[in-house]
Every structure is written in structure tokens, then in C-alpha cells.
Amino acid sequence: MSTASATALLDGIRAFLTPAQLRTDPDSRLLYGRDWTHQHTPAPLAVALPTTVAQVQRLVQYANDQRLALVPSGGRTGLSGAAVAAQGELVVSFERMNRILDFDPIDRSVTCEPGVITETLQHYAREQGLFYPIDFAARGSSHIGGNIATNAGGIKVIRYGLTRDWVSGLKVVTGKGELLDLNKGLIKNASGYDLRHLFIGSEGTLGLIVEATLRLTSPPGPSSVMVLGVPELDGVMAIFDAFRNRLTLTAFEFFSAKALRHVLNKGLQRPFETATPYYVLVEIEHTSAATVDTALAVFEQCSEQGWLADGVISQSETQAQELWALRENITESIAQYQPYKNDIAVRISRVPAFLRAIDALLAREYPDFEVIWFGHIGDGNLHISVLKPAALDQAGFLARCRQVNEQLFSTIRQYGGSISAEHGVGLIKQPYLHYSRDEAEIAYLRAIKAVFDPNGILNPGKIFA
């Protein structure tokens, strides 16, 4: 893109950022040049750490003048390579824009800068006697800005929806450098196109999120967590249906015995001795004094059908956390095997048939690889992680995975599903976008990108090439 020398480009940026706000050392460039994925070698020009909206606008203006590509960067926990800078881009980290600006108890909303860590916002809401429900294992590192840019889902989607459902106002600096103030915290606003929703989930390709207003809700009442042993894949959604019909579910998660093995290796306690190939974690809200009795009745009913072999239920908050750790620690427990991840979704009604189809496909295509299954199955969302055998080099491993992708994604297309449920497209799923979106749709996506970012300076190469 830019033809100017690196030195000249950096000198230009120094005109409006302080020395501490522009990092060029190799360690910072390595650290800020990638997200949780490690498939690309980071090679950013430098890392900018703006602290004000005006500085962000200056950066965008400068990037347009110089045709310098910008990579917005949050907590870098993304799983699609959307925050990777491997082509001499300037990383724009929002880490220093991390203030909570306003809380309104009547609107029940909080306004914050994009670099606020998800967990910080959750705690802040609790301190106000309220609740921010978007939650997942990366909570301690991911940023609100990153969550909005990926429309993050997580473990409570079944009850509370996606990040999108909680954003009532958004300030963005577009690729042209204007500051847009979108929806202004309103609940109702039928005055034309809702541009806010275009920016949510746009993976930093349309604009830079510089401020967000998020809705909060009442904290949930007490809950219990169950981990249940499932002998057959077909039982998973039958169990889901049985519990959903009689209880208020706040989470319904799935994982395989292979996944469990890895978290147990890290020192967690086995939930029960009975070995089953699959497990589900069910969180229920106590809506009445009879909730646990109802859960027991459903458990019995499912056991009689042969869908369940065993199960435990938390007796304290500590046990609830211990049971959740069995599910939440999976990603970290397999990280050392450099897994190749797919994050896919189909409609809930199609999950059973779809699971059967991909179970057969994966068994056929990866007979020699360890494949770990887990996911937010109550949302129709499954994560598939293929572990790299130590003997195989990274390039050979990725080549194999990409081959299988073509078949996996064809199956997804057949079932009307998505090649990315919640992790985004980024760099890694970019070649496969056409499996979930048709040509006409992709043409519109490109046209929208051209409207907000005519020079293509924002996160180029992400979502589509």
C-alpha cells in the first residue's frame, strides 16, 4: 500500500502521538501483531496507542493520506486472525482508551471507551446492582471494543443473546475519518437505517469503535450447574429439549470425553466416574423453590430414555465454578497442541442430523488426528479443534486441515449453516466465506465496505480479500 519509507511514516505519526504512544520495538510488534491465533508471523510497522477520539481521527486521516493500513486491536483474544498485522500495517491498540465514562441508573446503561476489559464492565455493573450478561472464558482479557467488533456471543447466549443485543449506542470513526454517533442510547429509533448494526460484527473493517453505550439488566437469581454424561450423540439435543421445556436455562454447553481428558490433565476433578463419550453442562436459574426437583424429574425422564448415563449438580457457588471450569478451560488446555479451530453453526432443529454427518466426515478424514468437540450447542454452535500431531510440521498440518475444510463447509452449506458462528471471519476463514454467503450478498458486503472505507485502509484482507 504505502510507498513512503517506514521511517518517514513513523515520523509523520510522531507529529500527533507522544513517544510513549508509538511503540516500534520488536517485542511490542510481536505481541500486538497477532491475536490468539498463531498461524501468521506478526510484522506490523508499529503499534499506536491513542488516548483520545481526536487522536484516532488523526490516525485515520493520516492513514488515508499515506495509504497506510490500520489494524484495530482490542484484547487480542480473537480466534480468526482478525487482529493480525502481518503486512507492515499500523496496529491501533485501544488499550489506553479504557475508561468507564458514564452510568445512568434510569436508562440502566453504561457508556465506556472501547478498551474497557469485558470483566471490568461485568464487575462495574455488579457494583451498580445490575448485570452485563455477555460472558465467556476470555472475559479477563477481551475488550468491549473487540466484543462489539466481533459481535461476541459466549456462554449465556441462550438466555441473553449476543453482544449486538446490548449495544444501545456506538461512536465510530469511519474509514473516512468522520465521527458517527449512532443510535444515542435509544431503545426505539425507527428513523431510517440502523447503521449501528453494520459496525457491530464488522471486525474492524468499516470503522473504529471509540465509544459504546451498553444496556444492563437485573442480576439473575441463584442458579445451579449440572454436568451430565451422554452416551450417544443423538441424545444431546433431546436432553436440551427436555430441560428447556420445563426450566429456565441460562446455558447449555457441550463437550466430548476427549476434551474433558485435557482439562482433567490440568488438575481438575472428574465430575463422576461413569465414562461417557459426551457431556453437557446445563445451568438453570432457580425460578421457584421447586426448580431443583423439576431438574431431578427431567434428569430421571432423560435417564429412562437412555439419553443420560450419570450427572452431578452443584451444591455451592464454588462447585458451580468448578463444574464450569471443565467446559471453560478446554480452549486453554489444548492450546499447546496448536489446534486448528472451526467454529460453526446450524439451526438448532438441524443440529442432530448435522452432528451425525460431521461425526462421520471427521472420523473418515482425520482417522489419525485427535479431534476435540465442544461448544454452545444450545445455540446450534459447535467448536471443532483438530490437534496437531507432534510429528507433523505446521505447514503440512494446515494443508490437511484446509483440505478437510472444503468438505466440512460443503456439509455446512448443505445444512444452511455458517462457517463462523461467533469467532468471525478474519484472515483464517476468509477463503471460505462463500460457503455461507452467496455472491450477491458478498458483492453488497464489498459495496458497503467501499462506502465507509473507500481507500481500504481499515483491516484490509480481513473478511474478504
Binding site: P271, A295, E317, Q319
Partner: protein
Amino acid sequence: MKLLVAVKRVVDYNVNVRSKSDGTGPDIANAKMSMNPFDEVAIEEAVRLKEAGKATEIVAVSMGLKACEETIRTAMAMGADRGILVETDAQLQPLAVAKVLKALVAKEQPQAVLLGKQAIDDDCNQTGQMLAALLGWAQGTFLSKLEVGDGKAIVIREVDGGLETDEIKLPAVLTVDLRLNEPRFVKLPNIMKAKKKPLEVIKPADLGVDVDPRLAYSNFRDPPKRQAGIKVKTVAELVEKLKNEAKVI
């Protein structure tokens, strides 16, 4: 060998408790309640002794409101054989609890009483010791290991600066620390079985025990809020502040 295990219903460990604005006590209305974590360890140890063929019967005991039945049911789902609730709405202090337990020992004739070393709500750490004194029994406190033999037990205790191994005579009062074991999760089928196990409800008066509080609490206050940190400009300033303000060097 028959075991009596005391289980207390307390505010869940993860709940952040504040005091009531009038200072009359902690504000725990609607707070999530669970079994005292130390008592969970005590029940787990009792169940392991039974599974190892060393104990024959486990009786779980709780005292307080009707809701303590839930805690007893949890103990029975973990493996206790039956339960006794000594129901009262009196504010129970360690001496009263020890007296009730003493009366229950007379009634049940166990060879050992297992308890948590303390309860996480009042943090008293007194009941086990008082009970041993009232009974004139041996006591093994703060246990991180327990081996039951013939008429005696070898216990390892967590003491300041290390571990102490003692041999004590049975019957004995044993209070347990968290490192003793990792309590099991409760299986759903066992909750259903626990519903059918006998749970006897009696009153302190049935045991002839006066549980009236002997201590009056005069005031409850939140601990002072932590001050925000400050940034120092130089090492010299840091040293100066550590010396003169924090007075730690």
C-alpha cells in the same frame, strides 16, 4: 464405627457480604446459602471412611432454621446415612452448638464426631474444641490427614510453621482443614436417594439444652475501604514513603 458429622448452613463463600446500615448484623437476606466448605470436607472424609469399610454409619447433624434440612440433604446425597436437624430460630453460638452436639453424642453413641475446623460465617473456630472439653474426649484439630486404626487414630495437623503428627485415642472429636480431601460432586441420582433417607427433626428442648446466646454483639461495620494506589516519581520518593508513611522499612 459410627460417625457423627456436623454440617452448618452458611452464606455461600462467593457472596460478598456487607453489614446492615444500622450495624445490627450482616445483611444476608436473600443471599445464596451453602454448606460450610470445611464441613463438606468433614462429610467427604466420613464417606471415604465408610467406603473403606472403617465406618459403619454416618449421621449428619445441623442446627438452626428449617432450611438447614437442605444442607443435611446435601450431606446425605454425598453419602451420610441419616440426618438430624435440631431446629431453632435462636442465634446459635459455639458453646450452644457444642452442648447440643454433646447431647446428641449421648443419644447416638458415635465413636467420633467430625466437624469443620471453623465455619466461614463467624470464623469462630471453637465448637470442636469446646465439644471435646465437654465430653472429656481426645481432640484432633485442623486435620490434613486422618488414619483410623483400632481404638485410635493417627492424625496430621496443620500447625504454625509445619505439620504435627499425633496419635489420639478414640472416641475423639476431629476438626478438619481444607487440605484433607477434595469433596465429591453430588450426583443427581444420589439426591433422589437422599430424599428417602431418614431425617429426624427435634428441638433443643427435647435434648434438654439451653441454646440462649451468651454473647451480645454490639456493632457490625464493613472493613475500611482500601485506598487507591499512588504513583511515585522516583525511587527515592518510594523509599521515603515506605519509611515515613507506610513505616515498613
